[in-house]
């Protein structure tokens, strides 16, 4: 079957894929030129990038874990987006999730729970707390019409500084101060609360969060495409007045859908803490929420798009960090690439969509 790509995918998807590929390749070309202008070896840089992104089992696993957190935030974003709500609060929802997961995991009673509850309960608690944090923005929107972009952005900063405060204070999550040089961070969480590894024999640092994430992605795809809820959300997104006349409860849906988005962010925070970092420190969320938001935006409502964009950013960041350590190419180069990709796709995708009025 030698059908052109466009015929098989449908024109819109093919164009979206084309635009994204062009943006990635274009930004890579700009990065290559920059490396050359800085008088560094391009070959060394590329080798170090590949090595850091997927060169070893460990690197591959780390990139996938990074992508997992980004994908969760992105999934939450597209669920809310279906109801025409923009969740900019991923960063704060991750922080809340990390904080609550740490508080639960550091509780000796929780750590002693059997049957895997020791690691499941902190995750559940983090998702619940994230849901409450997200629902707050939904509630403000439904009650006083507060723009959710503004409220979730402000809630993000509040949560990030709450986390900072919690690891500064020995009364909260800071480790016991044994000397003046005790770092402002939590104790490492006990082993029973860390997420069990899947590919330990292969040296892959993948954990049980991955299958959970995959299941959630499938769930989101199903809800958005096949379920009644998906249709109702779309109805609210397209025309709230008509949806209300049709008997859809807008207030409940607005609060609910923001809660779901928040729960995904909270879960991402729990997985970052329990799967990789094990210690809660200031700057824990470190831009994952904003990257996840961009992943959701670039995906343009598609679950596969979320996964693809999350993988792209996950590998990009991992490779970039190694590039700085090995080849003396500043990580900032990858930051530039990421910025270029975002700006290019954001601009191009609208231009290619026939300039319809954006809902």
């Amino acid at each position: 079957m030698n059908l052109p790509l466009a015929a098989r995918f449908g024109g819109r998807q093919a164009r979206a894929v084309g635009v994204s590929l062009a943006a990635v390749l274009g930004s890579a070309a700009v990065a290559a030129v920059l490396v050359a202008t800085m008088g560094l070896s391009l070959a060394d840089g590329v080798a170090a990038f590949a090595d850091g992104a997927w060169g070893s089992a460990y690197a591959l696993g780390a990139s996938v874990n990074r992508a997992l957190a980004l994908a969760l935030v992105g999934l939450g974003f597209i669920v809310a987006q279906r109801a025409n709500l923009t969740n900019v609060g991923g960063e704060g929802q991750i922080a809340i999730g990390g904080m609550v997961a740490a508080a639960f995991a550091l509780n000796p009673h929780v750590a002693a729970l059997p049957l895997g509850l020791a690691f499941a309960l902190p995750m559940l608690a983090a998702a619940t707390a994230g849901a409450a944090w997200g629902a707050l923005a939904g509630f403000l929107k439904a009650r006083s019409g507060t723009n959710e972009v503004i409220s979730t952005l402000l809630l993000s900063f509040i949560a990030v500084w709450m986390l900072y405060g919690s690891v500064q204070s020995p009364a909260l999550l800071r480790q016991p101060m044994t000397s003046s040089s005790t770092l402002p961070e939590s104790l490492p969480i006990p082993e029973s609360t860390q997420l069990p590894l899947l590919g330990a024999d292969l040296g892959l640092p993948l954990h049980v969060g991955l299958p959970v994430g995959i299941a959630l992605a499938l769930g989101v795809a199903w809800v958005l495409r096949r379920s009644v809820v998906g249709v109702q959300l779309r109805a609210i997104g397209l025309n709230p007045q008509a949806a209300r006349r049709a008997g859809i409860r807008i207030t409940a849906a607005t609060v609910g859908v923001m809660a779901v988005a928040g729960a995904f962010g909270g879960l991402a925070g729990a997985m970052m803490l329990q799967g990789e970092q094990w210690v809660l420190k200031a700057g824990f969320s470190s831009g994952y929420g904003f990257d996840g938001l961009v992943v959701g935006l670039l995906a343009r409502g598609s679950t596969i798009g979320v996964v693809a964009a999350a993988m792209l950013f996950g590998f990009l960041r991992s490779g970039g960090i190694n590039m700085e350590m090995v080849a003396a190419v500043p990580t900032a180069l990858v930051v530039v690439m990421q910025g270029l990709i975002i700006v290019a796709i954001a601009g191009a995708s609208v231009a290619f969509e026939g300039r319809r009025a954006v809902p």
Partner: protein, 307 residues
């Protein structure tokens, strides 16, 4: 006497810390009133801070640095305007993209020019006291002896407030943001007004960034704006999209930052995190409608297209 001195120092540092926010939020106010939520303030401030510092370092003239900072931000502001107004791309995603781009680009360029982690001192603006005020005992030295750019910021804030309220330009900006379709029907060039507003926001953000690098710290450090751009957006929200209240919000936020440095010396124990969080918390309380109705421009974040 000690308490009076502490109060004077507090007032002086509140003004100094509020000034970059005041510059950036005055620009952002105009952009938002015209209907564009310009999320790239942070990136624009950073580019201004960088370009201003480099030009001041290369020429030895801080005022030339100020000018170069404003020129350097224009391409970025044009990009933001073109993407969000002409292409009608999502204003939030383009803003975040530009912020990321600015952080990466200034970091790269700084390292290429100055190497690793140097903190080269650059020629900065001299402090100056307005005639008369500078001779007051205590207040003259601690409160009014400031970088002249601070007085420029205050003047610009008043001028913008007056323009928005009293002039035809102000009315046109308001119309473009509140009722773009009606404005278009009555013959106003909505797209041009929005372009102008975003460019103005860029120039003002850049001045805010320059205040940090040339005016205050006399050096550039990677990512030195550190969230000031988002704070400027919060000030506009807390100010309910009015110039006077936005300026007050900046003073309030500046005061909260000044307290972080001064409270420990007085022995009062307040968690640092709470003071840093305070501006965002206040802005949230304001948008939640607890303090009376908020009235954002009706067309904020909505792209406008002629059909």
């Amino acid at each position: 006497m000690k308490a009076t001195l502490a109060a004077a120092v507090f007032a002086g540092s509140t003004l100094r810390l509020a000034a970059p926010l005041l510059l950036a939020s005055t620009g952002e106010l105009v952009s938002e009133r015209a209907g564009v939520l310009n999320m790239s303030v942070e990136g624009m401030m950073l580019i201004g801070a960088f370009a201003g510092a480099v030009a001041s370092w290369a020429s030895g003239w801080p005022w030339l640095g100020l000018l170069c900072g404003m020129v350097a931000v224009l391409p970025v502001a044009l990009l933001q305007a073109w993407l969000s107004i002409r292409l009608r791309a999502n204003q939030i995603v383009t803003g975040i993209g530009i912020n990321i781009l600015a952080l990466g680009a200034t970091t790269l360029a700084y390292r290429a020019l100055f190497g690793g982690r140097s903190r080269t001192e650059i020629p900065g603006l001299e402090r100056w006291s307005p005639p008369g005020l500078g001779d007051l005992p205590l207040l003259g030295e601690q409160v009014f002896r400031q970088v002249p750019l601070l007085y420029v910021a205050l003047a610009l804030s008043v001028a913008v407030g007056w323009t928005l309220r009293r002039t035809a330009i102000g009315l046109a900006i308001h119309a473009a943001g509140a009722a773009p379709r009606a404005a278009d029907t009555s013959g106003l060039p909505v797209e041009k007004i929005r372009y102008g507003a975003v460019l103005f926001a860029g120039a003002m953000s850049s001045l805010g960034g320059c205040f940090l690098s040339i005016g205050d710290i006399h050096t550039f450090t990677e990512g030195m704006t550190n969230g000031a751009g988002y704070l400027a957006i919060a000030a506009v929200i807390f100010g309910n999209w009015r110039a006077g209240r936005t300026a007050l919000a900046c003073l309030l936020f500046g005061g909260a930052t000044a307290l972080q440095f001064q409270l420990p010396a007085t022995g009062i124990q307040v968690p640092n995190a709470l003071l840093i969080m305070l501006p965002y918390l206040l802005a949230l309380v304001a948008v939640a409608g607890v303090m009376g109705r908020q009235s954002p421009p009706a067309g904020l974040t909505l792209p406008f297209a002629r059909h």
